[in-house]
């Protein structure tokens, strides 16, 4: 595990380092989507580079992408003084959409690049090389040092620009967006658009909830970014998931947890009772009206407490279910074993003559068909139980929910009358 995930993790740390910093600025400037917009402009630059005959991985293509991103950055900086007449966020959106469309037009003339640009947007953090990570780290250290040296005006341009003269502000904005464009162009090459966006916004936004003050937010953002990178990589390994999307999902899960925690703090007993009653009403009503619909909540409950399903089956149905479950489990075990054997034969680790290998292949196909038949029987029994749960479970649930809502709302109206 460590062999494959070490460099992706280091890459994640490097990205966290610079992107949390820029994320705090971007959130303060209220230009959240500037990153996606500039990445799209950079992709347009790549497309133009391909059209001009440069391979997608070449240095020339990188500089094309950077030049385009800089042009986009300057355009966005130029708009800022006219915020009253033309919102900066609108320009960012327009730049995004138009450069995406232009990219399609350009790639129509250079179709060999389309796939590579798509991959670029998805990102390949799993296959990042040590050279890529070290050059990225060196570049970001330099940009970080520059921003540290010039921190006073750069911070003022983001966090308190009202006192700055217009010309001066334009200069510092242009510098800010230009260095940001360089960071985005370089990061997207390694991690893809989605992941870079998450590194930029999620830790900075979470840090905003947890801490006050720029430095405190920066440090907590760094810790969050590192922890979430590790969580995403481990999840990708344990649950066998594509790495980039797994890390993005880890960031999303952290955001959702934070939102839930904040909501829970405002939750009173009455509000939770209202929520529970509404949920019971909707779930019971759906079970009663459309029992054949997927009811994931009930599936989960049945998984945890099987009797919830089996009590709705007759004795003989229960016996069939038990038999099928065992047969499916046995088949799964055998299939796993034989598939491993088939793999070994394919890879020449186990010698087997071709006729026997073909027989193995056919046996595997037949066996999984049989097992699928057993699963079908289970599904049928499941449907039968659902049909009976419809009245015996759905009706009481619906009644309970409606009663809860009625009681809660009546109390409120009687309280309202009492207070009058």
């Amino acid at each position: 595990m460590t062999e494959l995930l070490l460099w992706p993790f280091v890459a994640g740390l490097v990205l966290t380092g610079i992107h949390v910093y820029f994320g705090l600025h971007v959130l303060a400037r209220k230009v959240v989507f500037v990153d996606l917009s500039l990445a799209q402009v950079a992709a347009l630059g790549l497309a133009v580079a391909i059209l001009a005959g440069h391979p997608v991985q070449s240095e020339a293509a990188y500089w094309y992408a950077f030049a385009f991103a800089i042009a986009g950055a300057v355009l966005i900086a130029l708009v800022r003084p006219y915020e009253g007449a033309l919102q900066q966020e609108a320009v960012i959106g327009i730049v995004y959409a138009v450069s995406a469309a232009l990219g399609v037009l350009v790639l129509d003339r250079a179709p060999q690049g389309a796939e590579h640009i798509k991959q670029l947007l998805v990102g390949t953090i799993l296959t990042v090389t040590p050279q890529e990570v070290t050059s990225l780290a060196a570049l970001y250290a330099a940009i970080g040092a520059l921003h540290l040296l010039l921190r006073r005006p750069i911070m003022q341009a983001s966090f308190g620009s009202q006192d700055m003269p217009r010309g001066v502000l334009l200069f510092w904005d242009a510098l800010f967006y230009a260095s940001f464009a360089l960071v985005v162009t370089s990061s997207v090459r390694v991690a893809g658009v989605l992941l870079v966006f998450c590194y930029l916004i999620v830790p900075a936004a979470l840090a905003g909830l947890l801490a006050t003050g720029f430095v405190a937010r920066l440090v907590s953002g760094w810790m969050l970014g590192a922890a979430l990178t590790a969580a995403g990589l481990v999840a990708s390994w344990v649950w066998d998931l594509p790495t980039g999307p797994a890390v993005v999902t880890a960031f999303g899960a952290a955001m959702a947890l934070a939102a839930l925690a904040f909501a829970a703090r405002r939750l009173t007993l009455r509000k939770s009772a209202l929520l529970a009653s509404s949920a019971a009403t909707i779930a019971g009503g759906l079970l009663l009206v459309v029992p054949q619909m997927d009811q994931p909540w009930l599936d989960v409950l049945e998984g945890a407490v099987p009797p919830l399903q089996t009590v709705f089956l007759s004795a003989s149905e229960r016996a069939t279910r038990e038999e099928m479950l065992q047969s499916v489990a046995r088949a799964r075990e055998e299939l796993t074993r034989l598939r491993a054997l088939e793999q070994d034969v394919r890879w020449n680790k186990v010698e087997m003559d071709s006729e026997k290998a073909e027989r193995l292949r056919q046996y595997l196909a037949g066996k999984s068909e049989l097992s699928a038949g057993d699963s079908l029987v289970l599904r049928h029994l499941h449907g039968k139980a659902r049909e009976r749960q419809r009245y015996l479970l759905g009706l009481p649930l619906l009644a309970l929910g409606i009663w809860g809502l009625w009681a809660l709302l009546r109390r409120r109206s009687s309280m309202a009358i009492g207070s009058n």
């Binding site: 595990m1 062999e3 494959l4 995930l5 997608v56 991985q57 399609v104 129509d108 179709p111 060999q112 389309a114 796939e115 590579h116 991959q119 998805v122 390949t124 799993l126 296959t127 990042v128 090389t129 990589l233 990708s236 390994w237 066998d240 998931l241 594509p242 790495t243 980039g244 797994a246 598939r339 793999q343 394919r346 890879w347 020449n348 680790k349 196909a365 999984s368 068909e369 699928a372």
Partner: protein
């Protein structure tokens, strides 16, 4: 307005057809239609070899040509999902897959369990077996001859000539690759089954189990693990394979990556090039 434009431009073509306008969905089929039709046909392909054949955006001019076409030839199966969105074409449609013996036609569920290229009706890259050109050109010949019965003998003669040239080249390709029969190879994307079957290569794994979805770290680790103790020496990549994935597998698995072309403008030339590249890769690794 577009309809008026279509009507106006399509009239003269239908009035006196000089050459039959045939639209194909892939450049390979275009090459095969030309091989049979010769100067009696004018063929246009809706996609270019460099494009992803599954995701084509048809342009207005192409739409217009498709409406004027006397015949449309498609790869079939579910290779061109975008074709269904095109307005109905009145010309006869030749599904080149109809008569081809397909590989990997198990139910999709079985194949997803085994992590193979997930096309619903079987692997669609059947033109990559030169032997399938016999049945594909037979379908094309039948359709062309019914459109222009007077030219049947010309078409038949042209097809015979093309196939005998192909047969001769196929023998040469088989000789070139004969030394490597039975060689085990890994592919990035599962589009080489027909090609491998013809030339006696054994594909042991695909690095990208689902097209367009990068492998998970565990899948990649398992592949690299398998590679280290194996006699596999070559990885076949497609032109649009993720270069960093290809590089990582080649470096860490200690094998040579070679990019083969799944599609080309000249059917015989496509195999000449692929056989040359593959032979070189297999030879240098012996």
């Amino acid at each position: 307005m577009l309809a008026a434009l279509v009507a106006a431009t399509s009239l003269p073509v239908q009035a006196q057809p000089e050459r039959l306008l045939v639209i194909t969905t892939s450049p390979d089929l275009k090459s095969l239609v030309e091989a049979v039709g010769g100067d009696r046909v004018e063929v246009e392909s809706l996609s270019q070899p460099e494009q992803d054949p599954h995701a084509i955006e048809v342009k207005p001019a192409q739409l217009l040509r498709a409406r004027q076409a006397a015949m449309l030839v498609k790869v079939g199966l579910d290779h061109e999902p975008w074709l269904a969105r095109l307005p109905a074409v009145s010309a006869p449609v030749v599904d080149a897959s109809r008569t081809v013996p397909l590989l990997q036609t198990e139910t999709p569920r079985l194949r997803t369990e085994r992590n193979a290229h997930t096309h619903a009706y079987g692997n669609t890259h059947y033109w990559l077996d030169p032997k399938n050109a016999w049945t594909i050109t037979a379908s094309i010949l039948a359709a062309l001859a019914s459109l222009s019965p007077a030219d049947r003998t010309t078409f038949e003669a042209r097809r015979e000539a093309f196939l005998s040239r192909l047969e001769e080249r196929l023998a040469a390709w088989e000789t070139t690759l004969a030394a490597h029969r039975g060689a085990r190879i890994v592919v990035v994307h599962d589009s080489w089954s027909y090609f491998a079957e013809r030339f006696g290569l054994k594909i042991v794994a695909a690095a990208e189990p689902n097209p367009g979805v990068p492998p998970s770290p565990r899948e990649l680790a398992a592949l690299l693990d398998r590679l280290r103790g194996s006699d596999v020496r070559v990885l076949i990549a497609d032109p649009h394979s993720d270069p960093s994935l290809v590089r990582q597998i080649a470096d860490k698995g200690g094998i040579k990556a070679v990019t083969l072309l799944p599609s080309g403008r000249d059917y015989i030339g496509l195999f000449e090039e692929n056989v040359r590249r593959l032979a070189q890769a297999l030879k240098s690794e012996q």
